[in-house]
């Protein structure tokens, strides 16, 4: 437990405040969760259509995901 706590504390040293004049770096491509939003969108659409019947993404019709 103590070691865990220590590790957490050490990890906190990695935290830093982004200065106002560094905020452009947050918008850099390498900061994005997703490298290719368009491809993710297409894959999501296909997965959504195919998996809709099994639930997980809410409602939706199902089918091939061609529309």
């Amino acid at each position: 437990m103590k070691i865990m706590l220590l590790l957490c504390l050490i990890a906190l040293f990695g935290c830093t405040q982004v200065k106002p004049w560094q905020r452009d770096r947050l918008a850099a491509p390498q900061m994005a969760f997703d490298t290719d939003p368009l491809e993710t969108e297409l894959r999501q659409h296909s997965a959504f259509s195919k998996e809709a019947s099994s639930g997980g993404y809410g409602g939706g019709g199902g089918g091939c995901g061609c529309n």
Partner: protein, 166 residues
């Protein structure tokens, strides 16, 4: 360990307890010495003593700076003979981005480059852009965060007021 003590240590470590470096209104503006953005020569703020200085911290990615630069340039032309000057300190990580910005928004006033971000720390910049209006004695008259066209009118009145003072 007491929970409150623990919290204090965590806060200290994560750097939320920042020391107050901020410059404030009514105090002499720290004398910035920086290389010019477009040339090589160093520029020191005290060479503009007995001028009204609009000290502006900006970056190329900052949207309000796109609004401000044409307006600052118009003020520079309008009031420079009365002893007014804009000094704009660039805080871009990439110098080329700053130079590209200046190609789109050409200006004749002094542009400096704070590559080490030292003066941004000293002046405790909390928003982009932040500007400091400095009177002829080198004392900070007012601080402005951000820039809007509507806010510019009030700013211009302050500049006119400062220019009337000896």
């Amino acid at each position: 360990m007491m929970p409150s003590k623990f919290l204090l240590i965590v806060l200290a470590i994560t750097g939320f307890m920042q020391s107050a470096l901020a410059v404030s209104v009514g105090e002499p503006a720290p004398i910035v010495t920086l290389p010019s953005l477009t040339g090589d020569a160093d520029v020191a703020l005290d060479q503009f003593r007995d001028k009204v200085v609009y000290l502006d911290f900006w970056a190329s990615w900052c949207a309000p700076c796109r609004t401000s630069f044409p307006i600052l340039q118009s003020w520079q032309q309008k009031y420079q003979e009365q002893g007014f000057t804009v000094v704009a300190i660039n805080l871009d990580e990439d110098k080329d981005a700053a130079l590209r910005f200046l190609q789109h928004y050409p200006v004749t006033f002094t542009t400096l480059r704070d590559a080490q971000e030292h003066w941004a720390e000293v002046y405790a910049i909390e928003a982009m852009p932040t500007s400091f209006l400095i009177n002829r004695q080198g004392v900070i008259h007012s601080v402005h965060s951000g820039f809007t066209e509507t806010g510019a009118t009030a700013l211009e009145q302050q500049i006119q007021q400062l220019l009337r003072q000896p």
